[in-house]
Symmetry: C2
């Protein structure tokens, strides 16, 4: 046999990934009509697995579905991005605080290493790579969150953002320097055993600041409409 790489993958899951990838690639832009039959033909399978895949995507909010009409890629405007970012700032801030006391010296060292990598890449700045490292850094901090439910929510929100934009720092490259400084600051708070409230606030503000930078850069005219904390 030649189970090239997707042998252990059910067709529904194949379809799921296939569609998701196209959406992430902007190949299927928002509003794009997802026709069961066509996709099934394209993937050389019947419509049943495709249906299931689309329902999953619907549950994640990536596509909207209307009965007897069909599915289309969800409309994602800037406001959704902003809202998701704010939600993430809340969730991630709390998750980071809930993980702080459980981080070992090694964990902190590792996070710092990632942050130093980010500093290095600042010279020949690559937004995509920087965004990826950024995610890695924060994951290192909140992954040990004492509350798995919070962790799930954080992951879900990260995934959601990943679909809306594959690189935040493409939009606000200037924010990168400030960002790594704040990272170090958070690390110090964790190391010195600062009150959890402080850590939460710092982590939350850190992300809010990225959002603010984005807003000022992309929509300088609009008011944020989102109260700060």
């Amino acid at each position: 046999m030649s189970p090239t790489e997707a042998d252990t993958l059910s067709k529904s899951q194949q379809a799921y990934r296939w569609i998701k990838e196209r959406i992430a690639n902007q190949e299927f832009t928002p509003g794009y009509r997802l026709v069961l039959g066509s996709i099934a033909g394209e993937l050389d399978m019947s419509v049943v697995p495709v249906r299931e895949a689309i329902r999953q995507l619907e549950a994640e909010g990536l596509v909207t579905f209307e009965r007897n009409v069909g599915a289309r890629v969800s409309m994602v405007d800037d406001s959704q991005y902003r809202y998701s970012m704010q939600a993430l700032s809340i969730l991630e801030g709390t998750a980071t605080a809930l993980a702080a006391r459980r981080l070992t010296a090694d964990d902190v060292r590792n996070a710092r290493r990632i942050n130093e990598l980010m500093i290095e890449t600042l010279e020949h700045f690559d937004p995509r790579a920087f965004t990826a490292l950024n995610q890695e850094f924060h994951a290192a901090l909140f992954e040990k969150c004492a509350n798995p439910r919070m962790l799930d929510l954080v992951h879900a929100e990260w995934a959601r953002l990943g679909h809306l934009r594959d690189s935040t720092f493409s939009f606000v490259p200037g924010r990168a320097q400030e960002s790594v400084r704040e990272h170090e600051n958070i690390l110090v708070l964790i190391e010195t055993g600062a009150p959890l409230g402080e850590i939460e606030k710092a982590a939350r503000r850190h992300r809010s600041a990225t959002l603010d930078a984005y807003m000022i850069h992309e929509h300088p005219d609009e008011a944020l409409g989102l109260p700060a904390f």
Copy 2:
């Protein structure tokens, strides 16, 4: 024709509701094996819609699914309840703060009315009714949240809790009095235009306190394991 009541409902949705109801009713207890064929037979439909329904429920976390094996009602132990409550305390706290500035005098009046209803029912205490009113009260406060994404998350978490326990106050009836007092306190904070941080903290603590009461009542021996803020 006799479209008794479910004419406009697709079979997948019928199945979805049917199963969900059984789970809520404890008729399908955690660990219960959901067999596609049996359910399909019971509902007099083919397995296809049932499959879809189960996948939806899976996405919501109500059932777990294993390939080529089947679905079963998710195990929900106390810890999950606790984690969910804590997540809700965070989300709801923030949502309440994000809604505070948008509440009109009427909104506050309405919320206070609900709270007074809760006070009245304290005499002949009915946990179910009290819990329902409690939800109504909080919904009145956070429903105008400026961030719809946060609102979605709050709703989802409420729904999740609804499945785990249909009445929180069955477990800690003594908490009710304290609860309505804190409600009034939150209302005053909103009316007087307290800083959003204060409102958030109060709302968060309010729910945390319910969780603590539950813990002390049900698991006095266990440490919370969840740091307070």
